[in-house]
Every structure is written in structure tokens, then in C-alpha cells.
């Protein structure tokens, strides 16, 4: 390199080598404390550690070198001296910004179906709205494209996107329902009852839900397994949030405490007395350092999650019912019908006045900042408002991590990658660095834990039972017994075969029934759920009925025809057989797809509408919005 530098031009580089990076900047990317590890005695280890240190440093230096290449700057709002930024209205902001940004400020008037909860996907592209009175709408809000819209005909407590925009979870009056982006119901999870809040942990593929009974459920959506159900023993949790850094679930309780949960331990990792009254809202910043709580005592407190100390606190006119942190540490609070956005929470003293303020038509029930956008979404009784909050979103996005502009194909690839990198729920701990530490527990304790984990003692020997010896005619007897067993097995097999053959035709009938819109859809869901829960085990009643029907049919149909049918069913059965093996979820998916081919996706939704009494009224509103 040096030789080359002197080459063509005859000039040498006056500053040879890469430009030095200031140590302070490198340090930001170094992990772990600066404290010295004890010096190694063995020269080989010493050399190894030294090498490690060098590699660590060089990696950090490379990261630091790339840092200035993050080109985007966050938005900001500058006011005239003496002017109060909180008095600037949304209209003024929208007038001042460019057309593209101004278009992000809009209102949806959805008056009929009550206050709305909302959720953005992690890339900030899609919006999910769930009205209390059953209206659920999924939309690509930036492009004004409606993905689907339907009414679940039940109270909707909360809505949440799952890992991407193709699946969404709705906490309905009774159970948890999972729909796809077209509004097709995919799962009903009946063990999750009376849910209040939903939170999806994206890296663990866990859906966390709290119920009014004070239970905290965890559902692994990648395999459809219920990971844990924990009793909070504090009654109904009024607020729920997740810590994106550690994936802990924060629950706010009526006794003023905030508890932090993992699915692995039956008691909260931390309990924190945050307010004198009940906790109404919690928000955790993405860095995992700040937690904001609002209580009935009309205060907002900011906690440092590393020390659990109160950083700031201030009172609000009437207590805040909703809180949310933006990516750049702005805090939004919904105090009745007043939305207050506080300036960046980092300095020592609490904010003097709100940074922005906006009045929504009725008290807000949902409040979310849109990731990577300077947008705050608020769901309220009169619909949904999208507000402009300059400087709230992170301007530099990591497209490998979350890409707002990804195509379908990219999304699919990302999905596969995310599934491969899924973190098991077991590893969810309050301190993520736990795994890199050496466990100091003793052998005995380890064994106990293993037994506890497995549910049995693998090292224990089975109790000794003396073998009973037969004498005399024993071999003869045994031979007979074996014969008897074999014949029985044969008979059983043939019977099963028969039953299975008989099962197939009524299924077709049921599918036809499935076309009928509302109730059957629910039933279908139920059936699916049952089948999902019991792993292909058929409910006995149905089997009987079907058997009876078949018998009747069998009387009428000539034998050869039956045979033909039987063959077809066999093929079908073969196909069908495979599906449950792959996994519950997949199996169900395939089934549903088959149904959809027959019934058509629209027909079900279309069928719903008339029963609701005319076309969905929101349709009109969204159509308007689209224009």
C-alpha cells in the first residue's frame, strides 16, 4: 500500500493509513465494563485473551468508523423566541412541512364502533385498528391501502400485529383470535380468556396477554404452543408494556406496583412501587433504560430501569390514561381528550411544559408512536387521528433489521431468517448477559433443577419388581395369548380402516355448510381449535353421526361405487395425514386453504356483512379516507 501511494503521482500520503478514530467514540461500541480481568497465568491463554481484546477493539473501531455515515437527521420544531411550542396546532405544522409529511396528518372518523386501540407493525408501515365494538381494520396507512376490514361482532379489547403484517391477534370478549391480513380467522385460542392487553415479543415469537382474572399468558406463535400461564396474584392488570431490550413484560397493578415478568419464573422478577394509587399506563423506551408510568395519583414518573430509581416526576391535570415512548425518547400521554407530548426525556429536571399538545374529539384509548416516522397515532371514540410530532422517529433505519420498504419476497425471506434466529422463551431473563456467565450452582442444586425441569429423575432406577415365572404349561399359554393378541390387533386395524374410510364424505358436506356466513364461521373456528387442541382427535359425537350417515348411504350405494369413493378418500387421507405431522399450525393452514378455494375468501366476509345489517359502515369512512 505504501509503495503504491508513492507511485503514480510521485506524492506520498502525508497521512498514511486509515484515519484514526477517537477513543471515546470507539468506547461507545465496546461491550462490557472496562475493568481489567485478572491476568492469565498460562501463556497460551494470555495470548488468546490478548488476541480477543484486539479483535473486540477492531470490531468496535469499525463500527465507530461507520457511525458518521448515518446520513439522516431527525426532524425538529423551532419556535420563535417567546412562543410556546405547545400552542402550535397540527394544522400549522402540516402547513409548514412538505407535502409528503403533511399527508401523514389525517383523521379517520369512525364514530360507530367506539374508542379504538391501535398497533403499528415494527417497520411502521402497517396500522391495525380495533374498535371496542368489534370493528377491526388493517391498513397500509402510508399508501392509504386497506388490507382488510371486518367486524368480529364482539367486544375488542386489544389488537396486536404478530411478527409481520400477515398475521394479527385480536383479544375479543371471550377468547383470543388470530386473523390473517385478509381478515380470515386462523385460530381461536380458547385457553386465553377475557383478555385485556396484548403484547408481541418479536424476537421470541411470543404473544403475551393479560386477562381480567389476573393471569398472564404466553403463546409461542411460531409453533402454536402455550408457553406459560402465570398468575399475577394482583388482580386485573390495568396496564401492560414490554421492554424491547430485555423482552420483559411490565404490568401495572391497582396497588400501585409495576411488576416485571418472564414466562420462566412464576413470580415477578421485579416488583416496583411506582404510585400511591393504581397504575394506569406504562411505557418503556426501546433502549430498555427508561420506563414511564402514570397513576391514579395524577403523576407521571420516569424510572431508570437499571437502578429502578425515579428520574423525574411531574403532575398532569387529570392523570394520564395512555403513555408511549417514541424512538427518540419523546413521551406522549393521553390525559382525557388532551394529548400531551413531552420533550426528550433525558435531562435531570422534569419538563416545564409539554412540547406539543393536541385535543382529540374524545378521550384516547390507544396511543402509539409510529416507528421511523414523525407520527403519533391516537385511537379515540370518534375514530383515529394521525398526528405529526417532529423529531419523534428515528431517521436512520437498519433495513436489514426492519425495512419499511421491503417487498413481499423480502418479507418472506426476513420471516425465515427471523424464525431461524428465534430466541427460545427459556432464555428470557431479566439480565440478558446471564448466558455468558458461569453458573456457580452446586451439583446437587443442578440435579434438583434438572428433575424439576424434566418432571422426572432421569438417574433414578426403576423399582425392582421380581419377574413372575410361569411354570408348567406356560409356553403353551403364552403362545395362545400371543395369537389372541394378534387377531385382536388385526380386527382393530381393520375397524380403524373402515372408520377412516367412512369419515371422508361428510367432510365435504361440512365444507359446504362452511359457506354460510357468521355462525358457521365461528363453529369452524371452534372445530379447528378443537382439532388443534386435541391433535387430530375427533370429537366422539360427530364421529357417531357421520358413521350413521355413512351407514345409511352405504345401504343405498352399490359396492363398486363405494370402492371408488374409498380410493379417492384414501388418497385424500394420505394427503391429510401428512399435515398434522408438520405442525399444528401448518396443518390447519392447509385445511383452511382448501376451504378457501371452494368457498372463496370474499364469500365469508361478504356473508358476514348482511347479518350485521347492511354493508359495514366503516367501509364508507375508509373509502373516503382512501380518496
Amino acid at each position: 500500500m505504501v509503495a503504491m501511494a508513492g507511485g503514480v503521482s510521485g506524492r506520498t500520503d502525508p497521512f498514511p493509513g486509515p484515519a484514526p478514530v477517537p477513543r471515546a467514540r470507539v468506547k461507545r461500541f465496546l461491550r462490557g465494563s472496562e475493568e481489567k480481568t485478572p491476568r492469565a497465568v498460562a501463556p497460551r491463554l494470555r495470548w488468546h485473551l490478548k488476541n480477543l481484546g484486539i479483535r473486540e477493539n477492531s470490531a468496535a473501531e469499525k463500527a465507530a468508523r461507520w457511525e458518521p455515515l448515518l446520513p439522516e437527521e431527525p426532524g425538529f420544531l423551532e419556535v420563535e423566541p417567546g412562543e410556546d411550542s405547545a400552542r402550535i396546532s397540527q394544522r400549522e405544522i402540516a402547513d409548514a412541512v412538505d407535502i409528503g409529511s403533511a399527508a401523514k396528518h389525517f383523521e379517520l372518523r369512525l364514530e360507530q364502533f367506539g374508542p379504538y386501540r391501535l398497533d403499528y407493525t415494527r417497520n411502521g408501515r402497517f396500522l391495525l385498528l380495533g374498535g371496542l365494538r368489534g370493528h377491526v381494520a388493517a391498513l397500509d396507512w402510508a399508501q392509504r391501502r386497506l388490507l382488510s376490514e371486518f367486524n368480529v361482532m364482539e367486544t375488542v379489547r386489544d389488537v396486536s400485529w404478530l411478527h409481520c403484517e400477515s398475521l394479527l391477534a385480536v383479544a375479543q370478549r371471550r377468547w383470543l383470535h388470530v386473523y390473517d391480513s385478509q381478515g380470515l380467522e386462523i385460530h381461536v385460542v380458547r385457553s386465553f380468556q377475557n383478555l385485556l392487553h396484548l403484547q408481541f415479543l418479536p424476537y421470541h415469537f411470543l404473544l403475551a396477554a393479560t386477562s381480567s382474572l389476573g393471569l398472564l399468558h404466553f403463546l409461542d406463535v411460531s409453533v402454536g404452543r402455550e408457553v406459560a400461564t402465570l398468575s399475577t396474584r394482583s388482580g386485573r392488570a390495568a396496564a401492560m408494556a414490554q421492554d424491547p431490550a430485555t423482552a420483559l413484560i411490565h404490568l401495572g397493578h391497582a396497588n400501585g406496583t409495576v411488576s416485571l415478568w418472564t414466562p420462566n419464573v412464576a413470580e415477578p422478577a421485579v416488583r416496583l412501587l411506582a404510585h400511591r394509587g393504581a397504575v394506569r399506563a406504562i411505557a418503556v423506551h426501546g433502549s430498555g433504560r427508561l420506563m414511564a408510568t402514570a397513576g391514579l395519583d395524577r403523576k407521571i414518573r420516569i424510572f431508570d430501569l437499571r437502578t429502578f430509581g425515579v428520574l423525574q416526576e411531574w403532575g398532569v391535570p387529570i392523570g394520564a390514561s395512555q403513555l408511549d415512548f417514541s424512538q427518540r425518547r419523546l413521551l406522549a400521554a393521553a390525559c382525557g381528550d388532551l394529548l400531551q407530548i413531552y420533550p426528550k426525556v433525558d435531562s435531570g429536571c422534569p419538563p416545564v411544559a409539554p412540547f406539543l399538545q393536541h385535543r382529540v374529539p374524545s378521550p384516547a384509548r390507544g396511543l402509539r408512536f409510529c416507528p421511523f416516522q414523525d407520527v403519533l397515532g391516537a385511537g379515540h371514540g370518534m375514530g383515529f387521528s394521525s398526528l405529526l410530532v417532529p423529531g419523534s422517529g428515528e431517521p436512520n433505519l437498519d433495513a436489514l433489521e426492519q425495512n419499511p420498504f421491503r417487498s413481499r419476497r423480502q418479507r418472506q425471506e426476513w420471516e425465515v431468517k427471523a424464525l431461524l434466529e428465534k430466541i427460545p422463551a427459556e432464555l428470557l431473563t431479566p439480565e440478558p448477559a446471564l448466558l455468558s456467565r458461569v453458573d456457580t450452582a452446586g451439583l446437587e442444586q443442578k440435579h434438583q433443577e434438572r428433575v424439576q425441569r424434566l418432571g422426572f429423575d432421569p438417574t433414578s432406577k426403576p423399582k425392582f419388581r421380581p419377574r413372575r415365572r410361569h411354570r408348567g404349561r406356560a409356553p403353551e399359554l403364552r403362545r395362545r395369548q400371543r395369537q389372541h393378541e394378534e387377531t385382536r390387533a388385526r380386527i382393530r386395524q381393520s375397524l380403524e380402516q373402515k372408520e377412516k374410510n367412512q369419515e371422508e364424505p361428510p367432510k365435504k358436506k361440512r365444507k359446504k355448510e362452511g359457506k354460510t356466513p357468521q355462525k358457521s364461521g365461528n363453529k369452524l373456528g371452534e372445530n379447528l381449535q378443537k382439532s388443534a387442541n386435541k391433535k387430530g382427535e375427533n370429537p366422539p359425537k360427530k364421529g357417531k353421526k357421520l358413521g350413521e350417515k355413512l351407514q345409511k348411504v352405504g345401504e343405498k350405494i352399490p359396492k363398486n361405487q363405494e370402492k371408488r369413493e374409498g380410493n379417492a378418500q384414501k388418497i385424500e387421507k394420505k394427503l391429510g395425514k401428512k399435515t398434522p405431522k408438520i405442525g399444528q399450525k401448518n396443518g390447519e393452514k392447509t385445511k383452511i386453504k382448501r376451504k378457501r378455494q371452494k368457498g372463496g375468501p370474499g364469500s365469508k366476509l361478504g356473508g358476514k356483512a348482511p347479518k350485521l345489517g347492511g354493508s359495514p359502515p366503516n367501509r364508507g369512512a375508509l373509502e373516503r379516507f382512501r380518496k
Binding site: M4, G6, G10, R11, P14, R31, G32, T37, P38, L45, W47, L49, R55, E56, A59, K62, A63, R236, A238, A254, N255, G256, T257, T262, V265, E267, A269, R271, L272, L273, A274, A278, R280, L296, D297, V310, E313, G315, P317, C335, G336, D337, L338, Q340, V352, A353, Q357, R359, P363, L400, E426, L427, A433, L434, S436, R437, V438, A441, K446, E449
Partner: protein
Amino acid sequence: MATWTSSWRALRQAARARRDTRWRFAAVPACGAMAEEDPAAAAAGSGSESEEGEDGERRHRQLLEAISALSGRKRRKLAERSEASGQVSEFNVTCKGAGEKLVLSELLQPIHPKSTLGSVRKELARVKRKAAVELPLSKEEAKRVVREAAYVTTSKDVGKWQQVVLQNRRAEQLVFPLRQDIATVTPLERATSAWKARTPLEQEIFGLLHKTQQPITDPLLTPEEMASVQAMSLEEARRRRAELQKARAVQSYYEAKARRAKRIKSKKYHRVLKKSRRRQALKEFEQLHKSDPAAALARLEELEQLRMQERMSLKHQNKGKWARSRAIMAKYDLEARKAMQEQLARNKELMQKVRVEPPEEELCEVPEEDTDTTALPMPSGANPWMLGKPSGLAPEPEAQEGPRDDRVPGAVENKDEMQEEEEELSEEEALLQDFEQKRRERAGSPKGQDRDHGADETEIGAEQPRDSPVPPVCAEELGDSPVPPVCAEELVGTGPEPPPQPQEQLLLSEQLRRVQTMEDVESLAKDELVEEQEKLVTLRAGKRAQQQEKGRAGDRHTKKASAKRKMISLEAVLDGKPQEMDCPSLPVVLEEEEGGIEQHGMITEAFAGDDVVADFRREKRKAEEAGKPQPVNLVLPGWGEWGGTGLKPSARKVKRFLIKPPPAPPRKDQHLPHVIMSEKRNIHAAAHQVSELPFPFERHQQFEQSMRTPVGPTWNTQRAFQKLTAPRVITRTGHIIQPISAEDVPNTAPGSEARPEGEAMPRRKAGPGKKAVFRGKAVSRGKGVSKGNAVSKGKAVSRGKAVPGEKAQPQRSRAR
């Protein structure tokens, strides 16, 4: 002596014999031998016989002898005794040695003549000493010897690989095949170096360039330019020199002066000097106080620090060497006595503690007896022992002066000076006190407020804007009372009700101060009441004072004050008075939540407050209790003593057999009153943890350090990720990987590439001194392993042995 006589006798006999056998001289071998040895001496010896007048004979014989000597034949024939002759004396003594001259040195030699058999004897002894011919070595031993020799040679041969192996082991990445012909790109410069200017134009240009020494590769500056830039102008140099000279001169003057001053022994001079310095300092301080109070405060602090240090050092006691010598002198020397007094006074002054806390009452209210006699209990809450008042109090100097005067009756003339000094001191102290007072005022001491509140509440309203709202920190920490505490803190709705049993509760309260006297306890009770009132007042005042600035300042002050007085309490965490946000508009529509939660919320709001805190505290205590390890009770009732219903095992047994477990490690939340942290292990995660320290690591910190940096692409840049996850061994497809050969060794050992001939030469040379080399190698190997490279490097160079040198060199190259 005996030698002398015997030889003398021998000589005489010889002479007689010669006389007898005149013509038979040929038969005298001894004489011939003598003559042969030294003819001159023989001649000299014969000279002694000239007295006997036989000159002719002698000469003749001499001649004959000389002739015979010329022939060169040596005759060493011992005299044979063939027949009786004159040569043989009757005393059986030969005339051997006749005619010899006597040499003194011979006479001085020991009597025993050197035996010619000595060497033979020695030989014989040696032969005798020698055992029989050694047996040949046994087969095993012979093999062992061979093996040893083989080992040494082989280890030497193999030793040259050691470096290679080490290097390969340490290499971050090995690319096989190891020998690769790297296609090097020759830089353009080198490629064109062979190029020469041919055309006249080119030559002219080159000539110009070379003449001016224009830089071709590094075009920044020519050598002349560099020189001119570096050079200094003459004027500047002169100026600089002058400056240096002056500085040196001044320094020497100053040093001389200092030396002179140091040598002055006059105490008076030093005292005056000290005093003047003190005065100067005081004056400066006053000026500073006027100009920059903050700096003055800092200075004061510094002084205080100094004082503390001096106090700590115990320098001013009467135990030092100087002090003891003075004490001896004090009886006679007035001066010494005075010095002693001064010293003691200073000591006393230093030993007096400055009051840590301002007392409740005004200083002047404190009766004077109390200040002197500390044994009396103080009405204030602070430790009475700590209440040594500052020496600057007005009445004190006088009070202390009396006894001092009594002690020093003779020192009347010094009194003026003393007084003067004390005046100074008191002035200083007054100043300090003034500062202290001001500082206290500035800090807005809560105690003062207390008094004010106690006096009347109407005043407080006026005072409040200036002073911050004191935080409603709860005074009582109802630590261990199982009864749910009465809510005394929730004062929003209720009036200032005193707690039902103030005394009992107060006894349970936690404070940093130690309550020592009955009065303290009483004052505590007063404090509580006062605080209650104060809280109320501040609540009211807080509402009034809504301005942001003051609120914040107040927060700071209150924090300070509370930190001083109170332990960290749960209420303190919860009850921090938040500032109200000033909003341009207020919410109009109140929330209508779902019915259930609203009712519930209403109820909780109504009953919110103390029970929440108490519940939480109870829960925390429960968690703490549960976390404590339980003692194991191994007491068997009735064992070794009477048993039966109603009988309890004896206390001794219980004490013996109740096994207490070691205390649990401190809880993580021990300093966080508002937090309960679970101490439960996450067994599912623990299953994934490493349970034993992996091999090369010696400490767990080392392992943790190696694990803490993630290598995934999510957390690293692309390049860093590639580097961190690069494979250790790369094999190139389609290439044959040959086993490493001896030719590769010098190439891979980096030290050898510098001078390959040097490497080869010593190897050839090493032949002759093989043994030495081996021995040297064994030593150096040990050293090389244990100590590293520095030791063996020199050896390797001098001896031409490659082994240790090889070890040393690659590391150096690595460092490069």
C-alpha cells in the same frame, strides 16, 4: 653439615687414590663423568691439590680427559670391583665425585637425594591403584547411553520445528498450501527506475531537478527549504540567549537569598515572618471575600481541610522531640516556656471540634456553663459530645485566658503579644463564623424554619417564596411494627392530626442521629410535630409557588436537607412533590372508562395512600424472610434427658443441635425500599449456562470477557463480522497440501529471512565443539522456555546455535 663432611672426605680419598694409581686414570669413570660435566670445575677442583706438587700429572690427566671429552662418548660405567685397588678405600667408599667443586646451593639442598626410582614408584602406585579392566557395559546400559545421545541429537533436530509449530498454532488463519507464490505488483516507481532520460529535453529537465534537489517523491519541501524553515533568525537567537541568561541570573540570586534566609536562626525573625504571612493571607482572604465570595468560600473550605489535616496529624502535642526538649528547658528558659504555651494553645484550638450541625436554638441562648461542661445533657437533638462550640465565641477567649495566665505567671511581657494574636484569631474566627452564618442562611436551614413555623404560621407565607417548599418527607419510618401504620402522612384531606401515640412511634423512628439523652427524645417528639405542621404549610405554599424555577431550586434544596437528615424511605421515593405541568389548555372531556375499572379506580383512589405503602413493605419483608436460609433443628426431645409431655429439651441441647446456616448473600434490593427483586433462579435459563469453566480459562471473568462481544452480523459491521467469524484453516481447492518440509523451516522462521547465509554458516561450524554445544543447549532451552527470549538471544548469536535465537526472533517480528 653431614653432607659437607662426607663429600670432603670423599674428595680426600679421591686424591689419595689418584696418587696411588697414577696411570690408571682411564679406569675412573666417575672422574670422567665429573670432567664431562664440568671440565672447568674439575680444573678448579684440581687446583686445590697443587699444593701437593703434582702439577704435571694433573695436567696430563686433564689433557687426557679433555681429549676423551672431545670424542663425545659418554662413559657411564660404574666402578667395578674386579680386584683390590687403591681406588677402593678401606672404608668402602669410592672416590666418586673427587675433584668436584663444591657449590653452596647443592649444600643447601635436602639430604635425601632425588631418587631416580620416584617415577617408577609413582607408576607402580598408579598401576596398583587401577582396578582390573572394566567390564563392558551391559546391554541395557549401552542402549540407554545410545538413547541419551540419540535423544539429544534428535531433540536438537526437532527443536527447529518448535517455532514453526508455535507460529502455526497462533496464526489467526492458516491457508493451505502454506507455500504460495504471491503475485506481487511491482510499483510503478520501481518499474520505471531503470528508465533513463535519453532525449536532450529529458536530460535537461532531470538535470534541473537534480541540481535544485527538487523532491521527486516527497514534494513538500526541498532540503534547503527545510533547513531555512528550521533555522532561527539571528536576532531571535540573540534575544533568546539574553532571556535565558537573565533567567539564570535571577534564579541564582533568588536561590542565594533563600539560602541566606534559611540560615537565619533568629526566632524573632521567624515569628515576625510567620505573623506577617498570616496577616497577608488574611488580608488576601478579605479581599477575596469582597471580590469573589464563592472563591472565598472555597478557600475557606480549603482552610478547613488544612485544619482537619493538622488535627489528624497530632503534630501539636507535647510529645514530639522538639516539645520534649522544650519541656526540659521550660523550667529555666522563659522563651522555651512561651513556645510550649503556644504549642499547647494551638493544640487545644485544633482539638476543639467545630460544630457539625447548627443547633436548634440560637447560639447565644445556650448557657455558657453548657459550653464548658459537656457532661450536662443538651437540649438539642445532636450529640452533646459533638457540641464543642467553635472557639470563636465571644466569651470564650476570656474564659480561656484566665487559666492560661495562671499557668504562666512569669510571662507578663508576652501577654501583649498573646492577646494580639488572640485578637487576630478571634477576628478570623468571627469572620469564619460570619461566613458560616451566611452559608447557612443561603442554604435555608430547615431548623430555622422549624422555629419560624413553630412561632407563627402567618409569617411563613411571606417567607415561603424565598425558601423552597420543604418536601413532605415522612418522618416516621414505621419499621417493624406489624400493625398497619396509621396514615399520618396523607395530609391532603385530613387536618394536622397528631399521631395517636406519638411517643411510641417516635421511639421506633429511624434517623441518622443518635438519640442519647432524655432531652433528645423529647426534642424528637417536638420535631415530629413541627414537621407535620411544616408539611401542611409547604403543601399550601407549594400550590402558591407555581413558578418553575423556584420549584426546581426548592427541589434541590429539599433533597439536600432530606439527604442529610433522613434515611432513604419509601415515602420519600413516592412522595416527592412533583411540579405541576403548566399546560396551555386543560382537558375538557373526562374519560369514561369501562364501568368496572372506574369503580375500582374510584375505590382505590379513595383508599389510596398509606395502605399501599404498608402492604408493599409487608410484602417485601415477607420476601426477605422467605429468602433467609432456615436453621435446621436436630434436637431430639427426650434424648439424654427426661422426656414426656410438657417437658422441653434443655436450652443447652437446643443451642447445640439447632444448626444455623450461613447467612444468605445480600439481597439485590437491600438499598431500594420501593423495589422487591426476585431471588429465584431461572432454571430453564440456567440449563443453558456454562456450569464449569471451560478449559483454557483460569477465572470466570476471563470467560465472561471472551463471551461478551457478539460476533453476529446483527451487531457488527460486515467486515468485522467476516473477520470475527473467519475460519481458522482454509484449504484451497485443487491444491495438493504437501507435508511441511525441512526447506520450509528457515523460511517460516522469520528471523532467518534477514540473513540466510548467517543461518547456514554456524550450522556447519557447529561440528567440532559438539559437546559444548549440547551442554549449552540444554541450559539455554530451559531458560528459553521459562524466561522468554531476552536471555537466550545473545547466546544464540555468539554460538551460532539456532535454537534459542529462533525462539527469540519471531516474537520480535510479531511485535513489529
